[in-house]
């Protein structure tokens, strides 16, 4: 039997013997990974919401009544070539008036007549999804405002940009929280594995005296930590999946209506694998810390 087989057998046996204490460590890891998982699910879906909303974001460029047709054409060409717009649509004064009458029939009589209505011609821009991010877009908007024939610019992307920044800030804060909680979980695992090591102090001492390599002495503890971490992460993923299922079932329709997403998604497979790996690493780290302490001379 090789070192891996030996470590596996000893580690699982020790885990079973100390299952009550191990349950505490696994609960700690479950809590940490659950917090991380909730943030990941929220972050994943918030990004999708922002992306969906960004994809449907529009910008209106109102033209001055006395804009020269040549300036309007130049502006349209420039907008189409700017790389910021997915589509550029010219809306004439008459078309704008007709839209108003169609959308607000009750107010049609106070908007004036075809000859003297206040609605200007405009360009309606369907922006690229990621156009709102970064200072390049702000510079571009300022450029638009300064073009000949432009009277005003209205856009609904500024708040999306702010939302993206808020999401990013929350993600950074969540990451910091997860790191702190992760270390706490690793130390909890270390304490539990250390307890297991203390209960096997005689055995460790005998192994040292017979000249067992350090790897042989430490490996079972590392395996024990790895198992605790992986099982904890697995528990948290199951809880998270159950929670997501309940939310989807109870509030799915409402959320779809509010957010505009077709459905709320659980974590992608790569993230699930990363979460399991994080649990494995946390547990292994705890086991390693404990085993180093147990074998220190």
């Amino acid at each position: 039997m090789g070192l891996v087989g030996y470590a596996w057998r000893e580690g699982t046996t020790s885990l079973w013997r100390g299952r009550r204490a191990a349950a505490i460590a696994m609960a700690a890891i479950t809590a940490v990974v659950l917090v991380a998982g909730v943030f990941l699910v929220l972050s994943h879906n918030t990004r999708r919401i922002v992306s969906t909303w960004s994809a449907s974001a529009e910008m209106s460029i109102y033209l001055a009544d006395d804009a020269e047709p040549r300036d309007v054409q130049t502006l349209q060409d420039w907008l189409q070539q700017s790389g910021m717009a997915q589509a550029v649509e010219y809306v004439s004064r008459d078309e704008a008036f007709a839209r108003f009458q169609r959308d607000f029939p009750d107010l049609a009589d106070i908007a004036g007549t075809t000859a003297d209505h206040p609605f200007p011609a405009s360009f309606e821009i369907h922006l690229h999804p990621n156009a709102a991010a970064g200072p390049v877009f702000d510079t571009w908007v300022a450029d638009v405002r300064s073009r000949p024939g432009v009277a005003d610019v209205r856009l609904d992307l500024e708040w999306l940009g702010r939302l993206q920044r808020i999401v990013r800030t929350i993600e950074v804060a969540a990451l910091a929280l997860i790191v702190v909680l992760g270390l706490a979980a690793a130390f909890t695992v270390a304490s539990v594995v250390r307890l297991a090591a203390a209960s096997r102090a005689d055995e460790i001492e005998i192994m040292r005296l017979v000249g067992a390599p350090l790897a042989t002495i430490r490996a079972p503890f590392v395996v024990e930590g790895l198992l605790q971490g992986t099982l904890g992460a697995l528990c948290s993923l199951l809880l998270l999946a159950a929670g997501a299922w309940v939310v989807q079932r109870r509030y799915g329709d409402w959320l779809v209506e509010v957010t505009g997403l077709d459905q709320l998604l659980f974590l992608p497979p790569t993230t699930i694998a990363a979460v399991l790996l994080a649990g494995l690493v946390l547990g292994g780290l705890g086991g390693l810390i404990a085993s180093r302490g147990a074998t220190r001379t």
């Binding site: 013997r17 005296l209 017979v210 000249g211 350090l214 042989t216």
Partner: protein, 219 residues
């Protein structure tokens, strides 16, 4: 085999456990190390097991200075030793066979080899019928036989025993000593620390006496 030249060991603020102790043990010898409590017997055994290093002097086993050994060399050195303690130091959650097999197991032998070798030595110490028992199910004498089997299982060149009969009645103590003499007769060097003068008299082998960390007698 063992060369101990002016070896000293101090703990804390100059408390001497051993002071200028000089002795030698040849290969194949059977030697008692005796003296009252605090004489330095256990300290010398700790140094020989390389659980500690001398604060002065030179301690060589098989020509190697124990103070100069690296961690890996210490592990390799210990694989050439067998050790027996007064309190048996058996693992209570393991069976007799597992307690003995732990040595070949940590040395990387296969399951089959481990069990085969462990059974051989258990048979030699007369415990082949108790291989599935746990230590608490055994008498003191049986537990010490298991400890001896564990010490023998890797064919050591040197056996170190610290008060191996301290927890046994005189007849069992003599049985254990007879086992150690048989082991010695097969060429293994045996060093037994004990303060049991009656046992030493009955076995009648070379005896080195320590007092206050000094060697005071060697005959």
């Amino acid at each position: 085999m063992i060369e101990c030249r002016s070896v000293s060991k101090t703990y804390g603020r100059g408390v001497f456990a051993l002071k200028d102790a000089t002795l030698s043990v040849d290969k194949g010898d059977f030697v008692f190390l005796t003296g009252p409590s605090g004489a330095g017997k256990s300290t010398l055994l700790r140094l020989l097991l390389r659980q500690d290093v001398p604060t002065g002097g030179i301690l060589r086993v098989g020509g190697r200075d124990l103070a100069d050994l690296s961690r890996r060399e210490v592990q390799a050195y210990r694989r050439t030793l067998g050790f027996i303690f007064q309190n048996f130091n058996l693992i209570p959650t393991r069976t007799v066979l597992e307690n003995v097999a732990i040595v070949p197991r940590v040395l990387g032998q296969s399951d089959d080899q481990q069990k085969r070798r462990a059974f051989q030595v258990l048979k030699w110490v007369g415990l082949q019928h108790r291989i599935s028992a746990f230590p608490e199910e055994l008498s003191g004498g049986e537990q010490q036989r298991v400890a001896i089997a564990r010490a023998l299982v890797n064919d050591p060149v040197l056996i170190l025993a610290d008060e191996p009969t301290g927890n046994l009645d005189p007849d069992l103590a003599l049985d254990i000593m007879n086992l150690l003499r048989e082991i010695n007769a097969r060429g293994t060097t045996v060093l037994v620390a004990t303060h049991d003068r009656e046992l030493i008299r009955r076995v009648n082998r070379r005896t080195i006496a320590l007092a206050h960390g000094h060697v005071v007698e060697d005959h």
